[in-house]
Assembly symmetry: C2
Homo-oligomer: 466 residues x 2
C-alpha cells in the first residue's frame, strides 16, 4: 500500500484560498488498499466515479482527514499532519507501506513520514524536510539553476529590491517593449503580470492574470506600487523577464529518482486571453515540430538532473515557450505533482490509452463555474444524454477530472485569508477532460457541453466569451 | 592579466557597514599587471606592504574605483560596476584578460563582465547573473542542499514564519536545551544567536554574537521579538538548529571549476566568548584526528559537488563542527572568496611556505581595535623593534593581513545604514597573522604584541580580556 497525501503548497510559502477540490485529484493515483490523506472528506460521487474508471475498489481506500487546523478543511494545514491523534490514527491503519506520495514536498510531510518510521519510503525525505520544496519550486531560483545548467530562458533578472527590479525592467523594456513580472511562488498565471510600454503585445498565449500598460518614465512608480505584490511583501525575490511574443506554451515532465531522470510526458497549455483554457496531452500527438519536441525534452531533462543533484525526488514539470522560430526557452520548474500528472499518467495513458490505435488525445478544459451542471450527477446525466460522456468503446468523450465545486454565493461563506481577488476565480472552475480523435471532434464535444450547460445556468450572463 | 574585484555581499541581500578595509584582502591575489577594482583607493602603505611580500610590482597594478554610488566608498555599490564611464575606463585599461575574479558572486559582476565582452572569463557567469550568489550563500538553502547530499548537519529546521520557528525551537530545546538561531545571510557570527532554556551552555566555540536565556513558555514571546531580526524583516527563511556542545569549529575549502572540485585547504576557527579570536591553517599541521580530517574533507567535497551541479564556480568554504566523539556536522557553506583564502593560499602556502621543513602554521588574529599601533607604519616599526615582525629567514612572526583601519571617534563620523550595532565592532579590528612553529611561540608573539600595543593605547581600558 501507499500513503497518498492530498496537499498543496504550504501556506507559509503561499496562502491559497480553497484547495479542497483540487487536491482530490490524488484519488486518480489510488490503488486498492491505499491510505489517502485529504483536508476534507472527498466528494463521495467523485470518489466512486474515479475508482470506477481506475478499477479500484473504493471500499478498500483508507481515507484520513486531519483535524481542521487553521483553515476549516478548505486547505490542508501542514501542522495538522503531525497532530499526535492523527499520527496515531494513520499508524494504526497501515500495512506494509511501499511509498509515501504527496502532491507537494512539504517539510511536514517529511515529519509525518518520520513519525511513522517511514522516512525511507518518502523519496527525497531529508531534502524536503529541510525546506527543499521552497527552493525547488521558486521561479527565482529556477533562473539561476537553468543558467547554471546552460538551459535557455528568456532574457531577464532575479531582483531582490524594487530598485533592482526597476533597473531590470527599464533595460528589458528597451529591448522588447513587454516584460513578464513573476512572483517566485504562485501558479496558473496568478503570479504573473505582463507590463508593456507601447501597444498591448500579442500575449494571449501567456499565463498572466494581470496586465499593465506603462506610460513613459513610469517604471519607478510601477515598482513603488507593485513590489509588495510581486515580492509577496518582500518575502521572495522577483523575476522580471522579456515576454516571448507569439509563442506556444509547452510543458515537459519527469519522474526523478535516486538513480535517474525518467521523462514521462509532454503537453501544451492553451491560453485564451492570458488565462489557461485547456491543456493537451500527449504532445507527441499534437503535430509539434520534432526539433521542438527534442529540444524541449532534452533541455528539460538537463534541468531535472540539476534538481536531482540538489536532492529533489518525485514528479517535476518544466514549463517552456517555443517561439515562431522553434526556439525553446524555459520559464519555470514545478517541483511537485503538477496538475498534469493525473491527466497524462492516469486519464490519458491508463484509462483512455491514447497511444493505442486508433490513437487519441486528451484535453482538460477549465470550464466556467457558471455552467448549470446540477452538480456531478447532473453533469454526468446530461453529458450521457447528449452523447458527450466518455465512451470506453470509442475512447472518446468527457471525463470529469476534479469534483464539481458547490456553487458559491460570494457572500459571507467566502473563504477567509484570500490574498488575491483573482484567486477566487480558480475556486470554482469545472475541470473537464475530453478524449478525442480529431480537433473537430474535440471542439464539437466542448461546444455541445457548453451550449447545454450555459443554457441550464441560473446566470443569464453565462454565455461565451466567459 | 586578471580583473580582480574587491566586492562583498550585495547590499540588496545584506547591507554591511564598512568593508573598505576588508575588501583590500584582494590585493594578496594580485599579480603584475592585474586590474583591481576597489570601492575606495587602497591604503598605499598596505598596497606596498602586500606587494613587497608577494613579489609584485605595485606600479603595474591598474587600480580602478567606481563612482561612489550610495555608500561613499565605504562599500562597493554594485550598481556602479556598470556605470558607463567606469566600464569605459576599465575597458580602456585592459590587455588580454585570463579571468574575472570577484570576492562575492554578485549579478553586477556578471553584468560588468558581459559589458566588457568577458563573460567567458568569469567562471559561473550565467549562474551568478541570475542570482545564484544569493541561493548558494543562504544558510537556509544550505540545509536543504546538505540534506539532499546526505551530508550531516545538526538537527534543525528551515522556518518561513515565526510560527514555524517557534514550533521548531520548542521541539529542539526539549531535545538539547540550547539552539542556534541563524539568519540566512550574515557572517562572522553576527547572524547567529544562541538561545538556551536552562543554564548557559558551554558555547564559547560558537560564532554567535548574541545570547539569550528563555524562561519557561517564552518561545512564542522570543519569536514575536526576534523574527524580524532573524528573518531580516521577513526577507529570508530562518534556521533553527541544535547547538553542538563542546565542539571544535573547522572549515574546509574547495575550488570549484567546470570539471572538478579541488580541495584547497582546511583550518580551525577558535572562538573566545563566542567571538572569533583567530583562525589557523593548515589543519593538517594542527594535530587533528585523521578520521575527523577525512570526514571533513570528503563530506565537504560532496557538498561542493552539489554547488558545482547547480552552477557555482570559484572558491567555497564549508564550515563544520566536530564534537567530542569526532562526529563532523556541517553548519554553513560560503560560496564566495572567504576570509581564509588569502590566509592559506597566499600568506601560509606561498609566503611562509608552511609545508616546507621545518613546517609552520599560520594563525590570523582579530586583535582589538583599541591597540595603539600608530597605524600601519607604527605597527610595523614596533613589531620590528620588539622582534615580532615576520622574519623570512626563520619563517616566524607577524604579518598584517588587512590595512589597519583609521581610529573611529564613534561620533558623527559613524557610517550610515548600520543595521546592527554589533556590526560596528567588526569595523575596526586589526587583522594580524602569526607564522609560528609551536603554539608556545605563537602565544608569546601574540602576548608581546598585545602588551606593547595595549600599553601604547590612548584608551586606558584597552587591556585583556577585551
Amino acid at each position: 500500500m501507499r500513503i497518498l497525501i492530498g496537499n498543496h503548497i504550504d501556506d507559509s510559502i503561499r496562502l491559497k484560498s480553497d484547495m479542497a477540490s483540487a487536491v482530490q485529484r490524488i484519488l486518480w493515483f489510488a490503488a486498492d488498499g491505499d491510505l489517502v490523506v485529504l483536508p476534507a472528506p472527498p466528494d463521495e460521487d467523485f470518489l466512486h466515479y474515479v475508482t470506477a474508471l481506475t478499477g479500484v475498489d473504493a471500499a478498500t481506500l483508507r481515507i484520513h482527514v486531519p483535524p481542521p487546523g487553521r483553515f476549516e478543511h478548505r486547505l490542508l494545514d501542514p501542522r495538522t499532519l503531525t497532530d499526535p491523534g492523527f499520527v496515531r490514527a494513520v499508524a494504526a491503519d497501515l500495512d506494509e507501506v511501499s511509498e509515501v506520495f504527496a502532491l507537494w514536498p512539504s517539510p511536514q510531510v517529511a515529519r509525518l513520514a518520520s513519525e511513522l518510521g517511514l522516512s525511507h519510503r518518502l523519496p527525497g525525505a531529508a531534502f524536503t524536510r529541510q525546506g527543499g520544496g521552497e527552493l525547488a519550486n521558486s521561479k527565482a531560483h529556477f533562473r539561476a539553476l537553468a543558467a547554471g545548467a546552460g538551459v535557455a530562458t528568456a532574457p531577464g533578472a532575479v531582483c531582490h529590491t524594487a530598485e533592482e527590479a526597476a533597473q531590470a525592467m527599464t533595460g528589458l523594456l528597451a529591448r522588447t517593449g513587454a516584460v513578464v513580472v513573476k512572483q517566485a511562488h504562485n501558479g496558473s498565471g496568478n503570479g504573473n503580470e505582463i507590463v508593456f510600454a507601447g501597444d498591448a503585445p500579442a500575449s494571449g498565449h501567456v499565463g498572466a492574470r494581470h496586465l499593465r500598460r506603462l506610460g513613459p518614465g513610469a517604471v519607478e512608480r510601477y515598482w513603488s506600487e507593485r513590489w509588495a505584490w510581486a515580492s509577496a511583501e518582500g518575502r521572495f525575490p522577483v523575476v522580471v523577464e522579456c515576454l516571448v511574443p507569439d509563442a506556444e506554451s509547452l510543458f515537459t515532465e519527469y519522474l526523478v529518482s535516486d538513480d535517474a531522470v525518467l521523462p514521462t510526458e509532454c503537453g501544451v497549455l492553451s491560453y485564451v486571453g492570458r488565462r489557461l483554457d485547456h491543456q493537451s496531452v500527449p504532445l507527441r500527438h499534437l503535430g509539434v515540430d520534432p526539433a521542438v519536441l527534442e529540444s524541449l525534452v532534452t533541455q528539460g531533462a538537463r534541468l531535472a538532473q540539476v534538481y536531482r543533484a540538489i536532492g529533489y525526488r518525485g514528479f517535476m514539470s518544466a514549463d517552456a515557450v517555443a517561439d515562431q522560430a522553434g526556439v525553446v526557452r524555459f520559464t519555470e520548474m514545478n517541483a511537485h505533482v503538477s496538475g498534469s500528472v493525473h491527466i497524462y499518467d492516469v486519464i490519458a495513458n491508463r484509462i483512455v490509452g491514447v497511444s493505442a490505435q486508433p490513437r487519441r488525445t486528451v484535453a482538460e478544459y477549465a470550464a466556467p463555474a457558471c455552467w448549470g451542471t446540477g452538480g456531478m450527477r447532473g453533469f454526468l446525466a446530461t453529458a450521457q444524454a447528449i452523447g458527450c460522456h466518455y465512451d470506453p468503446a470509442r475512447r472518446i468523450g468527457a471525463i470529469l477530472s476534479a469534483p464539481i465545486p458547490a456553487p458559491r454565493d460570494g457572500g459571507p461563506g467566502e473563504p477567509a485569508g484570500l490574498t488575491q481577488p483573482a484567486e477566487l476565480a480558480e475556486l470554482a472552475e469545472i475541470m473537464v477532460c475530453l478524449a478525442y480523435d480529431t480537433e473537430e471532434t474535440r471542439d464539437k464535444l466542448y461546444e455541445r457541453l457548453d451550449r447545454e450547460f450555459a443554457a441550464q445556468s441560473a446566470d443569464p450572463s453565462c454565455r461565451p466569451p466567459y
